[in-house]
């Protein structure tokens, strides 16, 4: 049977009704605006474009002083109350889960008026205002609340003490959004806020419990001191109430309780060591993945924060079939981007350390699924797919088998080198760095896909993180590569670009450029000639950079580059000698002495190896070089290191001294 349709008023029409002098018309229009925009981003946006937020904020501002007495129930007063309630509710709806709406509400100057209205005598007004402010405080755009001011803290306590759900919830939301520093966490603890939040956990409504769990997690984050006080005898058994809430019947409460427990464990590892609780958390979070809404979207992120960097938890999660379950969700397809990204990151954390996890993941034949994710329209998903690939490709066993060097993966990965998002570019370069450590003869696939040339282009990027990651990938690519591939990389890079990268302003770029040179000149002895191209441009750059090395890593990579050159013929060795003695720093001292005296045993080892090569007894010029090294105080410095605590340094020092004795030194 046909039914009559009720036409909703159009936004522009509603906006004109908001200006009506008739209070009833105005209230109806406000209510209609609110109803139309609830849960509808498109509608919110179209009202926003028409300037609805300043209009509603203006109505609120104009009516703010109209309600002064809770008991006055005449018609005018009722209208005023309704106008305030409906305008606050509409502003709250604009702000709900919509940052552009929050920004518009703040820009319209409504925020101070809403705060002021919290003190209104009318309960309905206070409730609507508190709800609107809660919506604002769910956004990162919310104004920062300064807890360190006494009057602000008192106001916050008054909010939390309120019997009204929205008001105490607002208090909790303010904490969740504004508490950032250890000092603020401590101030909230000292003000007794945790005791109040704990009472909301135990006796509050559903929304109060949830808000309290979120606030507690904020106050605990990276603050073992506050956690130990909270979990101490002063407050009773608060941890057990959070543990109980992790088994609550509401999914969102379970998620928030898990997140709170994870924050506690990550800040204070001695809490929640019980294997039963760890396993329980893994199972709860994996179950929450099945939730179709926001809880399911957030669950994989919570799971990641639980297992990241922790092998014991990754093992437990593997036993709980986490990889199968996460894989199952990806395989289902059509995931919300946030959930898709979270699941890929959870898989990345699962496969970050343990080979058993990587084997499990690869046994599911997932590379095609990952290749799909690499081409997803959402940048977060693309970056997460790269990060996942980066974790899985840490498997040396599979790298040795050439498992990852295939077009299915390499082609989409190389395309991401030009992604508009820098984080996607860097993540793609990270995964590439691992994949190109290929021990088979398949490295040429990467060249055929255009990857090598692209990496050289990215080494010229304006972004230093892109430059250093591109060089990192090139360094790994030329590791143990054949001469032809190395020559290809060098001619693409050129000596002048490589020497300018060695002298890059960014230390991480300098380090990777030096490590690339180190690998280029390894292998066939002819490859050493690279550093002599264009009048020894690269060798000169290495010398100058070593003289002013700002990190041990730069020294290590630079010294190994020189060590490898010094393992060549007489000409190569003499060129290194010349470099060691022309690059003198303060007190006319070679950087060699400085490196030998370093506390970093890796740097000492690299330096002593260079001296080992320069004084190699089979080379005719060794006695002369030894004499020079002795005159420069380098040999006596090495003698002082004969009992170095590092075994590697000690043994190499003994090699130098043995070689020196072969030439009559004692």
């Amino acid at each position: 049977m046909p039914s009559a349709t009720v036409n909703k008023p159009r936004p522009s029409e509603l906006l004109s009704r908001l200006t009506s002098a008739e209070p009833e018309v105005k209230v109806r229009a406000l209510r209609e605006v609110k109803n139309q925009i609830i849960g509808n981003r498109t509608k919110k946006l179209s009202f926003l474009k028409l300037g609805a937020v300043p209009a509603v904020a203006g109505i609120l501002a104009d009516s703010i002083d109209d309600v002064t007495d809770n008991n006055n129930c005449n018609n005018d007063s009722n209208n005023a109350i309704n106008i305030l309630v409906q305008s606050a509710a509409a502003l709250g709806s604009f702000a709900c889960g919509f940052d552009a709406g929050v920004q518009a509400v703040l820009d319209a100057g409504a925020f101070p008026n809403l705060l002021r209205l919290l003190a209104n005598p009318n309960e309905k007004v206070v409730d609507a205002v508190a709800r609107a402010l809660r919506m604002i405080y769910q956004s990162k755009l919310a104004p920062k609340y300064d807890f360190l001011q006494q009057k602000n803290m008192e106001f916050l306590i008054s909010l939390l003490n309120s019997e009204k759900e929205n008001v105490s919830g607002l208090g909790a939301s303010i904490i969740t959004r504004s508490c950032e520093t250890n000092l603020e966490q401590k101030a909230l603890f000292d003000a007794g806020i945790l005791r109040k939040l704990n009472s909301l956990l135990e006796g509050g409504s559903l929304s109060q419990r949830d808000a309290s769990l979120e606030s507690l997690a904020t106050i605990f984050r990276n603050n073992p001191e506050v956690i130990s006080k909270f979990a101490g005898p002063e407050i009773g058994r608060p941890l057990s109430s959070i543990i109980d809430l992790a088994k609550d019947r509401y999914p969102r409460t379970r998620l928030l309780a898990c997140m709170c427990l994870i924050v506690i464990r990550n800040a204070s590892p001695h809490f929640l060591q019980d294997i039963g609780i760890k396993t329980k958390l893994i199972h709860i979070l994996l179950e929450l993945l099945d939730d179709p809404g926001q809880v399911g979207d957030e669950a994989p992120f919570a799971f990641s924060s639980l297992i990241a960097q922790k092998e014991d938890l990754q093992k437990l999660a593997l036993e709980a079939n986490a990889i199968d379950k996460l894989h199952h969700h990806i395989k289902k397809g059509s995931l919300h981007p946030r959930r898709y990204e979270g699941i890929l990151l959870a898989l990345a954390d699962m496969c970050s350390k343990l080979e058993s996890c990587r084997s499990k993941f690869l046994s599911l034949q997932v590379l095609n699924l990952l290749a799909d994710a690499l081409t997803d329209y959402n940048a977060g998903v693309r970056a997460a797919a790269c990060i996942c690939l980066k974790s899985v490709t840490r498997s040396i066993k599979n790298l040795s088998a050439g498992y990852f060097m295939n077009e299915t993966i390499v082609i989409p990965l190389v395309q991401l080198f030009l992604d508009p998002s820098t984080s996607v570019q860097v993540a793609a370069l990270g995964a590439t760095s691992n994949i190109v450590v290929d021990f088979t003869t398949r490295k040429s696939i990467f060249v055929q896909c255009g990857g090598m040339k692209q990496l050289v282009q990215l080494a010229k990027s304006m972004e230093s993180s892109v430059r250093s990651n591109a060089l990192w990938a090139l360094k790994n690519f030329v590791f143990q590569a054949d001469n032809r591939l190395k020559e290809g990389v060098f001619s693409e890079l050129t000596a002048s670009l490589l020497s300018s990268l060695i002298r890059d302003p960014e230390p991480s770029v300098q380090e990777q450029a030096l490590a690339l040179v180190r690998n280029l000149v390894d292998g066939c002895i002819n490859l050493i000639e690279f550093v002599f191209a264009e009048d020894g441009l690269i060798l000169g750059a290495i010398g100058r950079q070593l003289q002013c090395a700002s990190t041990a890593e730069i020294g290590i990579q630079g010294m190994y580059a020189l060590c490898n050159v010094a393992s060549g013929n007489e000409f190569h060795k003499e060129a290194v000698m010349q470099l060691l003695f022309t690059q003198m720093g303060d007190k006319n001292q070679s950087f060699v002495i400085k490196f030998l005296q370093s506390n970093d045993s890796r740097l000492c080892t690299a330096t002593v190896w260079t001296i080992v090569n320069l004084t190699c007894p089979s080379s005719p010029g060794a006695p002369g070089r030894l004499e020079k090294l002795r005159n420069a105080g380098i040999v006596s410095q090495i003698k002082n290191m004969v009992n170095d605590p590092c075994v590697d340094v000690k043994l190499r020092v003994r090699t130098v001294l043995g070689q020196s004795m072969a030439f009559g030194d004692n």
């Binding site: 840490r394 066993k397 990192w472 066939c524 002895i525 490898n564 075994v647």
Partner: protein, 214 residues
């Protein structure tokens, strides 16, 4: 305070709670990219025979006591080309692995019988008999003990008539990078000896390349 095992001292047991690392020292000669060459003696009662062998280290993860690489056997009688295998190693670091194999058909007696063939093992024997060497502090000992297990053939099929069922007991000298090993497979000739030396690919000195996984 643990007492370190040094080349001149008798091995010590770690006493009480040990906060330091008791794993063997890191050694640049046993790092990725390093190559070794030598022979494996495969003589039987019937005839004397040795295969030339090249080894390349491809991966090293000291935290997990893991090492891997390839082994190339050059003059294998039944193969037309050199036979390359991929192997994975367990470093005896008292944390991830002890001297007792506990698998691959090797009993503690088999383990001791093989380890004692290395002269550098003798100072460790008495403690290994107690607990497999779990409480030894190897952080200053200039030898690294390992087990290398071949996992797959790289360039030939499994039908090549060769077996990789066994594994090697390996001792690496940090001083000069020399490697000794004994192949153990209950079904092959016992104590096939592997002897390798660090190589420098025609250079007059040592060269070191490296990669880093992200």
């Amino acid at each position: 305070m643990p007492v370190r095992v040094t080349e001149s001292s008798t091995p010590s047991q770690v006493s009480g709670t040990n906060s330091g690392d008791t794993s063997p020292p890191a050694c640049t000669l046993l790092s990725v990219g390093q190559t070794f060459s030598g022979t494996q003696n495969v003589s039987s009662l019937q005839k004397e025979e040795a295969w030339r062998v090249n080894v390349r280290i491809q991966g090293c993860d000291l935290e997990h006591g893991y090492l891997c690489g390839t082994m190339e056997a050059l003059n294998v009688p039944m193969a037309d080309t050199p036979v390359v295998t991929f192997w994975e190693g367990e470093i005896v670091d008292t944390k991830n692995y002890t001297f007792y194999t506990g698998k691959w058909e090797a009993s503690p007696e088999d383990d001791k019988r093989h380890w004692t063939k290395f002269p550098s093992f003798s100072p460790l024997l008495s403690q290994v008999e107690v607990d497999g060497g779990k409480s030894l502090d190897l952080s200053n000992y200039p030898y690294i003990f390992m087990r290398w297990k071949e996992q797959y053939f790289v360039n030939v099929g499994t039908d090549c008539g060769l077996t990789i069922a066994g594994f090697y007991y390996v001792c690496f000298s940090c001083s000069d990078g020399s490697i000794s090993g004994f192949y153990y497979d209950p079904n092959s000739s016992p104590f096939q000896k592997l002897e390798l030396k660090s190589t420098n690919e025609g250079r007059s000195g040592y060269s070191f390349s490296s990669y880093e996984l992200q």
